[in-house]
Symmetry: C2
Subunit: 649 residues, 2 copies
């Protein structure tokens, strides 16, 4: 007898990508099942290094403080090379700051994958709509592509195989090494969507016929996490140590440990060694040769490995009419040295999660065909939105591989411009240059086909991530960072950059915008305010579009309660909401965010940005461009195009 | 049959003071028993408001991040008054910043007592040397004052009474209201010291014959924690609302709540109401009258109370030859409105804890009479050190009462200088003005009887708290705050403000000081370095005096490994210790601490500070004043005066 289970989303693989994806479904009521063939959470090692964007994602999941508390900050990079005058040994060439000015915050921190997974996993455990099963993997999959998105069917049918469950009262750790895809299905899952977060050897990728395009590189690396006992003076800095026998990348981490990436050549020269043949002693010997004449001994070694790098991108990121998705290592592989693997996986998942959540929460999308004559929009809004996952993330992976090629080359053959190449690399890996192409979820101003160079330089642009910035609350002057404020609830935000509202004309314009935002007829009211008769604080927290204000007026000339009610809504149980209006002002202790300056905003006229649930800018319009604002939510399928609102479920 | 238990320290009362005291004994091996007559931890309310010093104490206990994460920051204070031109209603007079420039950090945060207790309690649970028993209180006490400190005896004998223990397998909450001191002893405790942290009605205070000196004030206050529903515009600021019928103090807190302190007059005028007769409705009515014409309704009320303030200080803080101590509310009471009660209690305990720990860890004190001709030092070093608890904390309590009198008066009859009085109050309550008098633990330069006005203005002065400041690690440039670095381990610190060690002469002087600090003969080596043959990292972490360096040289001209080994010791298991040398330098992202400027230190010559385990400065000497340095540790009883070192246990 084969058991049958019905879920909304089946996630294959509970690594960083799968856990990040599952985090999007907290408090959603959507039924999610994660399966992983491993017997339990990853115990150790592997990926490390969290970019600022990834840390912002953790903030949005509510686990930022825990992650930061365990992470190690990187601040300086030392570059060592051989002596110019010849002779043996290495010399310090320069020390550069690990800092990207445009970012305004910590660029990178170090935390091992198992702890990252731990915090994301803990964050799921109290949510009964999300289940995780280890020692479980899929063995068959069938997808009925005739079923339309938004309908009630479950077109994905998956056979699962399980390791026999352990007695839950025993407290020993599992003794198995998990299961594999050769097993016999003992359970059938009916799902609406299936997502493969199942790593470089992805099972789902093979089932849906996606191929990885690209090659293996011609280098083998050893990686080792250990407490170094050394008189090398820069051991607590990020170091690139380039000697005649190769280049070490050394990165400090917590618990007095350091991670080394060390190239390992074949013992006899000639062909590359097989990573399986590489031993810890051989890696350490290679490291010693590079840092000589400095001494190097290993104290405690907590993890080590050896690998050969592939640089490949999947031919597709979604298949079967957007019923099956591939995320992270399942569709791109590259060298780990730029610390991009775990980050890109989590960011892929972060891009996909809110789209699935929105489509599954039927009430928030209009079910009918929506987008008129545009052939790309002939599909339902659901399908168009889901298709943007591949449209947005595949180019990112392709850019990453191109970057990685250059980076590996730099490693192999040190160039004279090592430091400027490094800086370019740091900027790239922070993701500041990512801009998603126009789509239903990234809308350019009417009539604009693509952004010209002048707009591209600006910092509030559709398709780019909303840059994090500091503002202060109008009500109490407490400083806040905007990305921390934007929790991953699935809500869009309309951020009204209201300009100088101490000036009467601008204040009137912002009040008028408030009326439009609250208007449940031809405005956005049905998205920004609770249903008639519901005015609890909880109802206000559940609206699909949250309205926020950032003004640049003299804060003491602004009275919060004089502003339109949509900006400081009243709830019968908790009074006014004081936490939606911010000033671009000096804080008492934390300095001035200078948002209007940094984002190049017009202080007189302001503007209005639609920020997607994942923190990317969806549209930017003038504060009086009501049709532009409404157009965005029509385009994404949340309002009827006719201008006649559809009732929300 | 009466059970018998032997402990080192018996603490009566597991409130903020008792828990803070117990936190000092983590990882010490000293046996501590806390008893409290309550059936369990405080469920709610009461004290609130944490001053910067208290938050530094939590950092030193390792619970700073948890406390900060739950706390609410205060940034602005609004002052409201009646209309000058007469007429009804109130107007906003001014808004001032809740900020003390000298402090350089957040002055105050809000967190309710029960959560403060929770974090301190959690921090004890994994330490098997510390036990806590609720529903337990002392009923008898006898103290043998003939026993000398440092001997092996247990001169304190206490009879305890217990509520019958609940079955540990039942999971209901205790149904009793605790026990009282009228019970019959069913257990005898033999202890070396007893500490009364048992609140304003302290049982121990009565047993040891200490009286509270002072009076009840003539005002009755209601206090209420609630979600306000109001159109009063400054509800998220700290507010002093002064109307004809009284002054409300309103303080924002987390979970959208606000705390109000409201004066309640008798219903018929005339005599003061009995606090027992005051109802929630009456408090709310008084509040409404004050904020009128603004509306005020209460959403959820999480706690309320009414009380009449006493302003009293105990005649003694220790008795019975320093065998019995009184801490916190047990020896001083005052109005809660300056938020000083819980803070002062915790700070009292913080002052006492390390002294008891040092005395109980025999090996760290010389047992014989130590201080030659000084009559104050005729006692053993143990007794002299313990006596400084009263010498240091009683004046603080007296100053606090004096301050409170003025503060309450200000409340009752608003003065024209309300704002400047407020600022003065903020400075006082931060504790910046506290300076402990000279003693064995606070040593002035030889020949100086008291500090002149010029020295008093300086910021690195024996008897004052080491001001918190930011520096960067020499090894990796990561920014650190010094008070966070000074964990409450019981260790003293010698902080070498090394000056500009890029200059050869100064570098030589600091190296020479290093030799003295490492010298196990006539220097401080037996306090700063592990025993011969022990060179594990753990052994280095257990030395009773930790050596740190803060230099102001160009950081890139300093090589850490060129410095004397005592500044970056080697351990056989973990290599060098990279975390003892700091630079007063610009950090990558967090600005410049400007320590030498703020503390008015000589950049050429530097100086050397002894910092006590509680973060107060014990002595300040020149970097070549070896005898001054040694003199401090002789004075406090950790080295023999003769100059011949005593072997440590």
């Amino acid at each position: 007898m084969v058991a049958t289970t019905t879920v909304d989303v089946l996630i294959v693989g509970a690594g960083p990508a799968g856990l990040a994806l599952a985090n999007w479904f907290r408090d959603s009521g959507i039924r999610v099942l994660l399966v992983d063939k491993k017997p339990g959470p990853t115990p150790r090692g592997q990926a490390e290094g969290l970019k600022s964007t990834t840390n912002e994602i953790f903030d949005s999941f509510g686990i930022g403080p825990q992650v930061v508390a365990e992470s190690w900050r990187l601040e300086e990079i030392a570059i060592w090379g051989t002596r110019e005058e010849g002779g043996s040994g290495i010399v310090r060439e320069q020390v550069i700051l690990d800092k990207v000015d445009e970012l305004g915050t910590v660029r990178e921190t170090m935390l091992q994958q198992s702890r990252v997974e731990h915090h994301m996993l803990q964050n799921l455990l109290s949510h009964s709509n999300i289940s995780i099963r280890y020692s479980t993997c899929p063995v068959t999959v069938e997808i009925d592509t005739s079923c339309s998105h938004g309908a009630d069917g479950y077109p994905v049918k998956v056979g699962l195989t399980h390791e026999t469950q352990h007695d839950s009262t025993s407290n020993g750790s599992p003794t198995t090494n998990g299961v594999d895809e050769q097993g016999v299905a003992d359970e059938t899952i009916h799902a609406k969507y299936i997502v493969g977060c199942d790593g470089a050897r992805s099972w789902l990728r093979k089932q849906v016929g996606v191929v990885l395009e690209g090659d293996l590189t011609d280098s083998v690396f050893g990686v080792i996490d250990f407490v170094p006992k050394t008189n090398f003076p820069d051991i607590r800095r990020v170091c690139y140590v380039r000697s005649a026998t190769g280049t070490i990348l050394a990165v400090p981490r917590s618990n007095k440990e350091v991670r080394f990436y060390i190239p390992v050549s074949s013992s006899g020269g000639g062909a590359l060694p097989d990573p399986k043949d590489v031993t810890l002693d051989r890696i350490l010997a290679a490291a010693r040769a590079i840092v000589s004449p400095y001494t190097l001994e290993a104290g405690a070694v907590s993890w080590w490995s050896a690998y050969r790098v592939g640089q490949r991108v999947g031919s597709h990121f979604s298949r079967c009419h957007e019923r099956a998705f591939l995320v992270g290592d399942a569709v791109h592989t590259h060298s780990p040295k730029a610390g991009q693997g775990m980050n890109t996986s989590i960011q892929d998942a972060y891009n996909l999660g809110w789209k699935l959540r929105l489509v599954l929460q039927q009430g928030r999308l209009v079910r009918s065909l929506g987008l008129g004559g545009d052939p790309a929009a002939a599909a339902t809004p659901h399908e168009a939105l889901l298709r943007t996952y591949e449209g947005e993330r595949r180019p990112v992976a392709q850019d990453l591989i191109a970057f990685d090629r250059g980076y590996l080359k730099l490693f192999a053959a040190p160039s004279a411009e090592f430091d400027s190449e490094m800086l370019r690399g740091m900027k790239f890996t922070t993701g500041l240059s990512i801009r998603y192409p126009p789509s239903c979820a990234v809308q350019l101003p009417r009539g604009v086909q693509d952004l010209g160079p002048s707009l591209l330089k600006a910092d509030l642009v559709p398709g780019k991530r909303l840059q994090d910035f500091q503002v202060v609350y109008q009500a109490d002057s407490i400083a806040a960072r905007i990305q921390k404020r934007l929790q991953a609830t699935g809500a869009f935000r309309v951020i009204v950059f209201a300009g100088d509202i101490a000036e009467a004309g601008q204040f009137a314009a912002v009040q008028k915008l408030g009326e439009f935002l609250a208007d449940r007829g031809s405005g956005l009211g049905q998205l920004t305010t609770p249903s008639e008769g519901e005015d609890s604080f909880a109802a206000w927290e559940e609206v699909p579009v949250e309205v926020l204000v950032v003004h640049c007026a003299d804060r003491h000339k602004v009275e919060l309660l004089a502003m339109h009610e949509v900006y400081r809504p009243w709830s019968s149980d908790q009074g006014y909401d004081y936490w939606r209006v911010f000033a671009d002002a000096e804080s008492v202790l934390d300095g001035h965010g200078r948002v209007y300056e940094r984002l190049q905003l017009d202080r007189q006229k302001g503007c209005c940005a639609v920020v997607r649930p994942d923190g990317y800018v969806g549209a930017v319009v003038d504060v009086d461009n009501f049709s532009g604002l409404r157009g965005y939510f029509e385009g994404v399928g949340m309002l009827e195009v006719s201008g006649v609102p559809t009732a929300r479920l």
